[in-house]
């Protein structure tokens, strides 16, 4: 069923009796050509591109709970391609281009909103660093714009420009960045994948791999054994737990990241802004809530809830940047489990086990990567060669010294 304005009007006039479930609820088959583990944004996008672009058949997505219940439904929905390093920037710019055509591709309203993102600058050294980053972005075909404080004042007059400690001196803007309705990304990819014949199997937890003579033959699940020609793992924060069942240790730690939403307010914040002197970023959802967040809690966690010191830190950041936020009431907050890698960059690669492929290490920034991650993983699964924008995302980069460390923090995941 195609969605359209005409269809919405017709259904409104006929009592909404013609809508059908957006995807099927099939029984697992005994064997698939390709099995994707994880029904988050990345797993579902992978299935969509495998079926639609790479012409693969007999594909299943296995999700232990319900699709969209993981990080894809927990994030603060920011998309952007403002990275510095060569290994990253072409990939994220490819992703932003896919976002720009996503709704037509999926025939689904994902509320992609290119409202712009502004990284604020508070010191001369930071200005140099951001201008360098902006130049790297432009060299890779992305858009970047340096703004001085007076220009920013016109768009965001309420910011704390003249703070004694951290005055706002300028900003790096990416106008094509913005936000996307996160749940709709999961649902849109799921609906499209399903329409191309992909089986989406919910309540189907992978509990082990069947590996013989160095080859992966399929997966043990809570709904029985499922054979597979190739298996792709895309379980984000559960990466360590899942891959340990294949005997693998990863260059990844799982950490909790919290997010916060205020009560609904009249439109006040046109785009996304990030504080450059503390860890705080904020945007306003279409329902009116201020959506904001900050740092990860900083210790290994699988708890999907955080602790109070980070709540305090995030609120202090908000007060320092835009004091008026203190008048808004906090409505709710939650946590998600991040797959924090050793250099802060992701992995899309084969494993040493034949037929077993891995996608993970997205840290707190994998939502914006969803389309390109799905596309690149589908490319790898279908053709067994990495997509041109994802060639740097290898497991062995920690052995060969080709780390992609945007922040230069080294092998300490809680600092990325």
């Amino acid at each position: 069923m195609r969605y359209s304005g005409f269809k919405v009007i017709k259904e409104a006039l006929t009592g909404h009796k013609g809508w059908r479930p957006a995807w099927r609820d099939p029984e697992p088959q005994s064997h698939y050509d390709i099995v994707i583990i994880g029904g988050g944004g990345h797993g579902l996008a992978t299935a969509h591109y495998l079926a639609k672009i790479f012409g693969q058949k007999r594909i299943a997505v296995l999700e232990k709970g319900w699709i969209g219940g993981g990080n894809v439904g927990r994030n603060t929905t920011i998309i952007r391609s403002n990275y510095l390093l060569d290994g990253n920037e072409p990939f994220y710019e490819f992703s932003l281009k896919l976002w720009e055509g996503l709704e037509q591709d999926l025939n689904y309203n994902a509320m992609v909103s290119q409202r712009g993102i502004m990284n604020l600058i508070h010191s001369d050294a930071q200005r140099d660093a951001y201008i360098r980053r902006g130049n790297a972005m432009i060299l890779n075909g992305a858009d970047a714009e340096y703004m001085d404080a007076d220009q920013i004042r016109k768009e965001y007059p309420f910011l704390n420009f003249d703070d004694a400690r951290f005055p706002i001196k300028g900003g790096l803007a990416q106008r094509r960045g913005g936000t996307v309705r996160h749940d709709a990304v999961a649902w849109g990819y799921a609906r499209s994948a399903d329409s191309h014949g992909v089986d989406i199997l919910q309540n189907c937890e992978v509990t082990g791999f069947r590996i013989e003579n160095g080859k992966c033959l399929g997966v043990e699940t809570s709904r029985g054994f499922i054979g597979a020609g190739r298996v792709g793992c895309a379980v984000a924060g559960s990466s360590g737990r899942l891959m340990s069942k294949a005997g693998m240790r990863l260059p990844i730690e799982s950490h909790v990241l919290q997010a916060f939403v205020s009560e609904g307010l009249k439109p006040i914040l046109p785009g996304v802004i990030t504080f450059g002197a503390g860890h705080f970023y904020v945007s306003q959802s279409d329902k009116g809530g201020l959506v904001f967040g900050g740092d990860i809690d900083g210790y290994n966690s699988y708890a999907q809830r955080g602790n109070l010191p980070v709540v305090e830190d995030v609120c202090e950041g908000g007060m320092a940047l835009m004091p008026m936020i203190g008048r808004a009431r906090l409505l709710r907050m939650w946590g998600g489990i991040m797959d924090m890698s050793m250099d802060g960059s992701p992995i899309i690669d084969r494993t040493h086990i034949d037929g077993l492929y891995f996608n993970g290490g997205w840290c707190y920034g994998g939502f914006k990567a969803t389309p390109a991650s799905g596309y690149a993983f589908a490319h790898l699964l279908a053709r067994d060669i990495p997509h041109p924008t994802a060639t740097a995302y290898r497991f062995d980069r920690f052995e060969t010294g080709h780390m992609i460390d945007e922040k230069g923090m080294g092998n300490q995941p809680n600092l990325h």
Binding site: G240, R241, R249, L250, E253, Y299, N300, P309, M342, E399
Partner: protein, 104 residues
């Protein structure tokens, strides 16, 4: 979270900074370790869901390193030791096995 410091008693976790898995105490022997040993030591983690032994530094306190045993699913802390004592234990274990090792 409250960390029950062996010398100072219960302290707010915000006084500490976190390093990671306590396996970082088992540094490979520089005389014999291969590049792969160093890679595995520096970059690979068990990352368990459940009990995890991990290094915390009491930066806002007595600047001691602790080995904290904590459940990564519930955040419950079940054991806190001075990293110094743990490292000495490791060194004597290894010494007992006849391997050259400088300890802590």
């Amino acid at each position: 979270m409250i960390i029950n410091h062996p010398l100072l008693g219960p302290r707010d976790s915000a006084e500490f900074t976190y390093l990671g898995d306590a396996s970082l105490l088992n540094r490979p022997d520089p005389d014999t370790a291969t590049p792969k040993d160093w890679h595995d030591y520096a970059y690979l983690r068990d990352n368990p869901a459940g009990l995890h032994r991990e290094l915390w530094f009491h930066e806002g306190g007595d600047r001691s390193w602790l080995v904290v045993t904590r459940n990564t699913v519930t955040h419950e802390i079940t054991k806190v030791e001075l990293a110094r004592d743990v490292a000495r234990g490791l060194a004597s274990d290894v010494a007992g096995m006849g391997t050259k090792r400088s300890g802590g």
